[in-house]
């Protein structure tokens, strides 16, 4: 186990390096440059050249890359042009806000999705099974932004139950925060919920039809115990691996959701950074997303092994 963790941590190094160089090159290739954004459209080209020199953008790209990487080894991820704050600090302050909605959304999705999947596996071909099928299909195919806009229209504009945007403030009580979280979480949870439902359903169907389940039933074990203690536990591994993938997707998917709901997390920050060509911030944020993804998949592998020691990775 320890060896596995070490091995994976070592694998992290090339991953980070690749992500670093790819984002570095891509940010420089896309047209538009931070100096011209900072100076504004009305600015004089001489002023822009001056700013470029100040920002070190007049140097060649390999030279800029070397400076950037050596700064990172010193623990300096650069300063965001937009927010005028060190990138590292900025990302640290934003991650919790994004995790707030992604984790909540994912937990809701996990609970409801597996429940729905289990029930529909046990009642195969019942109405609830068909509901599950249609729901999974819609959940997987409806884009997040559409669900976002529609849910705002329904719950905020038409019914007036929930606020349309923002994060609220804890000073106004817990409900203020919760009510602002509800719609973004709903939005983020639909797609993974559908995936969980599908995966649970098929995994449960496989398990439930096994001989040992029949044997357990024959021994007169309570049905509830058979399902939840024996069948569900054995159906878990595929769900766990889907969970890992979904966490990554959810975290990146938050970019769209946060923009729709003006949620002040990583997502709104990344889109602002891209629109303003805030190189240091784009690189820092994408690096963070990559590290989060790698870390999540490592954690998932460990959980996998703990649940089922037979599995060797």
């Amino acid at each position: 186990m320890i060896r596995l963790i070490w091995k994976r941590l070592l694998q992290l190094i090339p991953t980070v390096l690749i992500v670093l160089s790819v984002t570095f090159v891509i940010t420089r290739i896309i047209p538009g440059n931070p100096a011209s954004v900072l100076a504004g459209p009305e600015a004089d080209p001489r002023l822009i050249a001056e700013l470029e020199a100040k920002m070190g953008l007049d140097k060649s790209i390999p030279e800029q890359f070397l400076i950037y990487v050596s700064d990172i080894f010193k623990g300096d991820f650069g300063t965001s042009l937009n927010y005028n704050e060190p990138v590292f600090q900025l990302i640290l302050s934003r991650i919790p806000k994004t995790l707030m909605i992604t984790f909540t959304g994912l937990i809701v999705a996990l609970i409801l999705g597996t429940l729905l999947g289990t029930v529909s596996a046990l009642r195969q071909n019942s109405w609830i099974d068909h509901f599950c099928t249609v729901f999974s299909l819609l959940g997987a195919s409806l884009p997040v932004f559409w669900i976002g806009i529609m849910s705002i229209f329904l719950f905020s504009v038409k019914l007036g139950w929930l606020p349309t945007m923002g994060m609220g403030s804890i000073q106004n009580g817990l409900w203020d925060i919760l009510s602002h979280m509800l719609l973004p979480c709903l939005c983020l949870s639909l797609a993974p919920m559908a995936t969980f439902a599908r995966t649970t359903r098929s995994s449960m169907l496989d398990t439930v039809n096994n001989d040992y389940i029949r044997a357990l039933r024959a021994r007169g074990l309570k049905e509830r115990k058979v399902i939840w203690k024996h069948a569900f536990k054995n159906a878990l591994p595929p769900i766990i691996s889907v969970l890992g993938v979904q966490l990554g997707i959810c975290f990146s998917g938050a970019i769209l959701t946060e923009n729709i709901f003006s949620w002040p997390g990583m997502g709104t920050m990344i889109s602002t950074a891209i629109n303003t060509r805030d190189y240091a911030l784009i690189q820092g944020a994408i690096l963070t997303l990559a590290v989060v993804n790698v870390a999540v998949s490592l954690i998932m592998d460990i959980i996998y092994m703990l649940i089922n020691p037979k599995i060797k990775i």
Partner: protein, 549 residues
């Protein structure tokens, strides 16, 4: 059979889940089928009137919430860039002289009580109020503002890149309550420049105390002071209890960041915000149809133009440029691209709400004439047409303009237009580097003074900036532009601008085709009067917004 039934049932269930969202939309549209899209049916007079008309006595208290599409990164007058930064900083400071939102072109006293200009136009002396205190900050406790502070603030900005006072050599405190501006050439637009947020007066202690962070802890003399500035969330301003002018009615003003235009309308409909700035034109109908909202047409115009590159490609041939102007049907562009009532046809490189704009001047620009266009192109180096790229920052309207123009020029001149609609940062970079052929853009005229549209568009000092992307460089034109600035007399200036137009239009520098209006959504019960470009919520003497309880 049973299986079929359950599938149908499940489907029906799913549909009923969605149903909540859909039926209301068509119902809303059906409610008034006679209504043309968007603002067409809006009676501007009536709308503006209802907001300005004061139904009952102004009451103190309450919070006014406005939306902005993105938060400025700095509120320091030195570093402000973009509309939102201007608007925010303006609410917290006072200019030396104030603009008159009624559009008279006159300037009103604010921090300066009166001013005088020397005969040669090179010295402007301003008398200042003696009762102005700074807002309480971290490094000073709300001390009296002095003439030295005014000189400091303006000189400070002069050293910076944002500086628009290049014609001012120095500002000096020349008396206890008197400052003098020393100009290097007579300039009629000094007073206009002084109304801008760049020239708000700031206390030296705060600027030096906070250093680079002053932009997050802005402090000035205005009716509202900064409480918090959270980028991506909101900026909160609170009443300055020690304000020199009339006490502001509102306790608080909050600017919330909402990036998405339709979301701004949603928040307005639910009452989360009181005023939505700059509505997307396609959502105006939702505001018009709501009984809780007023649609306000602002005294602010976004010009739309296509500047020809005078450096690259076929456009270096003046015959080609002339042909393209002649082959452009402006009316069709405006009718096809902009929602009804949200834009008007123009022909001049001059903002249509300017005092100078007239039909007579429009005569200096060739009319739409496809036959003549063909004949002119036949005389050029490209008689059989050519390929050309039209670059622009993509928006709903500009995408449509591009497509219509593509058809027009193909039909009349056999010119193939390649559309290159990108996002703003890419387009701006293209303008700055001068690598385009046709630049579709246009400036937002923040004042009716012709210098800021006509003057900027052909000034060689603005070459490769968004004002003059061509760039159009002509010494004679530069001379006229500065000559027009040297006098404040409208008829004298009009004559010079007429000469300038004759000069530049003979070179066919571009096509000016539409002025777009700006709309705000305002909730009923909000009483605000200044709907100018840099609007003021409160300014101490003639504007003081309030909200019904």
């Amino acid at each position: 059979m049973k299986k079929m039934l359950s599938v149908v049932l499940a489907l029906a269930m799913m549909l009923s889940l969605m149903a909540g969202c859909t039926p209301s939309t068509p119902a809303q549209v059906d409610a008034d089928p006679t209504q043309p899209p968007a603002a067409g049916a809006v009676n501007e007079q009536e709308v503006v009137g209802s907001a300005a008309e004061i139904k009952n006595e102004a009451v103190d208290g309450g919070t006014l919430t406005l939306s902005m599409d993105k938060a400025p990164t700095s509120l320091d007058p030195l570093k402000i860039s973009g509309y939102n930064a201007f608007v925010l900083t303006t609410q917290m400071g006072d200019p030396l002289v104030a603009h008159d939102a009624s559009g008279s072109g006159e300037y009103l006293p604010s921090l300066a009580t009166k001013w005088e200009v020397s005969k040669d136009g090179l010295q402007w002396v301003f008398q200042l109020r003696d009762d102005v205190h700074f807002q309480k900050g971290t490094y000073q406790d709300g001390r009296l503002m002095t003439a030295e502070d005014v000189a400091y603030s303006i000189n400070r900005n002069k050293k910076h890149v944002n500086n628009t006072l290049s014609f001012v050599d120095e500002v000096k405190a020349t008396g206890e309550n008197e400052v003098t501006f020393y100009l290097n050439r007579p300039t009629a637009t000094l007073l206009y420049e002084l109304t801008l947020a760049y020239y708000m007066i700031v206390p030296k202690e705060e600027v030096e105390g906070w250093g680079d962070d002053f932009g997050m802890h802005f402090c000035s003399t205005g009716p509202f002071m900064l409480e918090s500035h959270e980028i991506d969330q909101q900026t909160v301003l609170v009443r300055n209890e020690n304000y020199w002018g009339e006490r502001p009615h509102l306790d608080k003003v909050i600017f919330k960041v909402i990036q998405d235009g339709d979301q701004r309308v949603n928040a307005l409909l639910t009452g989360e915000i009181d005023i939505a700035l700059s509505l997307p034109t396609d959502s105006l109908e939702r505001v018009v149809n709501s009984e809780n909202l007023d649609l306000i047409s602002l005294n602010k115009v976004q010009m739309n133009s296509i500047a020809f590159s005078l450096e690259n490609g076929p456009l270096t041939d003046p015959k080609v440029r002339e042909a393209l102007i002649l082959a452009t049907d402006r009316q069709e562009l405006v009718d096809g691209a902009f929602a009804a009532g949200t834009a008007a046809v123009t022909k001049l490189p001059l903002c249509s709400n300017s005092w100078l704009y007239s039909e007579e001047l429009e005569g200096k620009v060739p009319d739409f004439d496809p036959e003549k266009a063909k004949a002119v192109l036949a005389e050029s180096a490209y008689p059989d047409g050519f390929d050309i790229t039209l670059s622009y920052a993509s928006s709903v309207e500009r995408d449509r303009v591009g497509v219509i123009l593509q058809q027009q020029w193909k039909k009349y001149l056999n010119v193939n237009v390649i559309l290159d609609g990108t996002e703003t940062a890419t387009y701006n970079d293209l303008v700055h580097t001068g690598n385009g052929e046709l630049y579709m853009g246009g400036l937002t005229a923040s004042t009716s003074d012709p210098h800021f549209s006509l003057g900027y568009a052909f000034d060689s000092a603005k070459a490769h900036a968004s004002y003059n992307p061509g760039p159009y460089i002509n010494e004679k034109a530069d001379e006229l532009i500065y000559k027009a600035l040297a006098t404040t007399d409208h008829s004298e200036r009009a004559a010079i601008y007429g000469e300038l137009l004759d000069l530049v239009m003979a070179d066919y520098p571009g096509i000016w085709f539409a002025d777009q209006f700006t709309f705000w959504g305002v909730r009923k019960g909000v009483h605000m009067e200044d709907f100018d470009n840099w609007f003021l919520i409160c300014n101490g003497f003639n504007y003081n917004a309030w909200k019904e309880n």
